[in-house]
Symmetry: C2
Subunit: 242 residues, 2 copies
């Protein structure tokens, strides 16, 4: 099986959570964002599925994954599917649900991170919503960021299998996503994130354990990894960090 | 099995998506929001799980469901679990994923509906963010609402099993949630929703088909159904509807 990942070119975005799972597992996949339009990749390839009336089960938005004839949308749904196949989720039903629950909480967190710079509308420029972004970011730094970070640290602490991961003794896709969120937060809100992680040794250790894994290291060092940038979910505007 | 549903008292909120599934299936459950604090219900019962260090797999926020010893959080995750048990989801793996994908898209929609009146912060009052709410609502009415509504109508149109439902020929939990969202939108944005649904006969028919089901009718007429109100996700502020 060669998977095809469909996502916007030029940003990590939500596609990155899927890429990290595929890369960690050493799965064969084509990242359509890295394929030129001439060769059938890029934005037109996405739009074919988003706008066509011939897709019976269409995705609402990227990312989506093509696995044979199956087209799967929504990041946590894609990861639920891949977790089983790539051995990045527990085998028992309760463990699968718990991993999914963590991933959904990470997704909620990601929406709130995104909305710090886009509180009024995702179709408007940041420059059109700067005062609102400043207020929302303040609420995020003071309330939401510590709340989410505290929750995930507590999950790590509560995992009776001592180790760096959130679910039992083995790495899951939720750990990969969590590490990616920490990396993104450090890029976007370096000051607030340093403060929020100060008394959170387990989350810092999880981040390091993920980015030290050989396949993840190789991936991050490769041309396949797009750098963090200010067209993405995680954006660094210093005015929003203080 | 008697399920226990934990959610904030006084509002429908995200708990309602779970209630509709339990009610449609005729499942036995205790709605902890309707149990008095003296009898172990209400907010203290929620907080016991949200704040305790003794819960190994804690929920981040309500709703959460207690099923025997299992504690399950995140609305789409609860519904994934219940869908299987209550026969409100397809039996095949691809159908389960597709139903989950629709539910996740409904969840995204619900976040955006909520944020029309709370674009700056969920911990602040609406009155503290009225100008931002007005701008966000305009973007919602003009762009996001038609986009989501158009997507779900297309899903209904694309379902080759002719009938009122989104997935195959049988009712799923995603249909119940979709009908609830339409009811909520009609309460919150009566003008914008009428316009958005004008050329969407399939969504209107889905709404009616859900609310005509005997168990749902009985539930909605009962004291168990909290009325829509302005402390909830769906709020009616006429200034945000035009």
């Amino acid at each position: 099986m060669i998977y095809e990942l469909y996502y916007w070119p030029g940003i990590q975005g939500r596609g990155e959570f899927v890429r990290l799972a595929l890369e960690e597992a050493g799965a064969k996949y084509v990242d359509i964002a890295l394929v030129s339009e001439q060769e059938g990749g890029g934005v037109p390839a996405l739009e074919k599925f988003l706008e066509s009336d011939f897709v019976e089960r269409p995705p609402f938005a990227p990312p989506f994954l093509k696995a044979g004839k199956q087209l799967i949308g929504q990041t946590p749904n894609i990861l639920f599917f891949l977790g089983e196949r790539l051995n990045l989720a527990p085998r028992d039903a309760a463990g699968k649900l718990w991993t999914n629950q963590l991933q959904l909480t990470i997704s909620d967190f990601v929406v709130e991170i995104h909305d710090t710079h886009h509180p009024i509308g995702s179709g408007l420029y940041y420059e059109e919503q700067k005062p609102a972004a400043k207020r929302r970011s303040q609420d995020f730094r003071e309330n939401r960021l510590p709340k989410f970070i505290g929750f995930f640290e507590r999950v790590l602490k509560g995992n009776s299998a001592r180790g760096p991961w959130m679910v039992g003794a083995r790495l899951t896709y939720a750990d990969l996503s969590m590490a990616q969120v920490i990396a993104g937060l450090r890029y976007a809100f370096p000051l607030a994130t340093r403060k929020a992680l100060q008394a959170r040794p387990r989350l810092r250790a999880l981040h390091d354990a993920v980015f030290e894994r050989p396949r993840i290291k190789r991936y991050v060092a490769s041309v396949r990894r797009v750098a963090f940038n200010n067209d993405d979910i995680f954006r660094h505007y210093s005015g929003l960090d203080r």
